[in-house]
Symmetry: C2
Subunit: 135 residues, 2 copies
């Protein structure tokens, strides 16, 4: 028995809305989904995996256009393996850079936060309002 999901079940399962699932199909991020005789979409477990993968790519900040390229390459078959790998490697480099950037700014935030803590201490302990140019 072949289990399939309605669009709402698929939405519940993946955490995307039915609107978004249709949108992804419309823009070619998901290949045309099987239909029941009524015309209603019927999603397979394979579709679930693909959508989960799309979600992972999105949450790394990959733009939709690039995901479209990736999907297009995938559906062209085995001869695009190298181009897919290179696409992922370029994206990997961007993700790395973003992590480094965020890590740097984390230290900036920590510095600010500690500075504020000091100022608060001075206020409560010495009752002399701080006048420095705190941003």
């Amino acid at each position: 028995m072949e289990e399939t999901l309605s669009i709402q079940e698929m939405a519940d399962r993946t955490g995307l809305t039915a609107h978004t699932l249709r949108y992804y199909e419309r823009i070619g991020l998901i290949q045309p989904v099987d239909r029941a005789s009524s015309g209603h979409r019927r999603y397979s477990e394979e579709d679930v995996s693909w959508v989960e993968f799309l979600k992972r790519l999105r949450s790394t900040g990959m733009p939709i256009r690039e995901m479209q390229s990736y999907a297009g390459l995938l559906w062209q078959g085995d001869q695009t393996v190298e181009r897919r790998r290179k696409l992922l490697e370029r994206h990997r480099a961007r993700v790395m850079q973003k992590i480094q950037e965020l890590t740097e700014y984390l230290t900036v935030l920590d510095w600010k936060i500690n500075h504020y803590k000091e100022v608060e201490c001075m206020e409560s302990n010495l009752e002399t309002p701080a006048k420095e140019a705190v941003q």
Copy 2:
């Protein structure tokens, strides 16, 4: 001699466009800038520092609305120090979470990339096209 910058000089200096500088002022991210007698904006070094700080906050992904709150608190003076610290701490937590998320997905990407490399090896060494469900 008090050095000031025209809007274009400020744009060159900070890497924002003149349009964006006016926009930031309009939405209250920058306090009304000093004007020459002609009405042209004249930016101070203090303005430069503030804009640089705004850029850092933005690049950590802080939404404009939150930066507006922060700026508003700052301009209210010393009694908002604790609220500013708490705002930054909330943001810090989000940045941390984003770093962790990206780090996780980095390993996913690495896994995919290595998988592709294997497939490419198989193709070139054994000349037997791989048929697995590679995403």
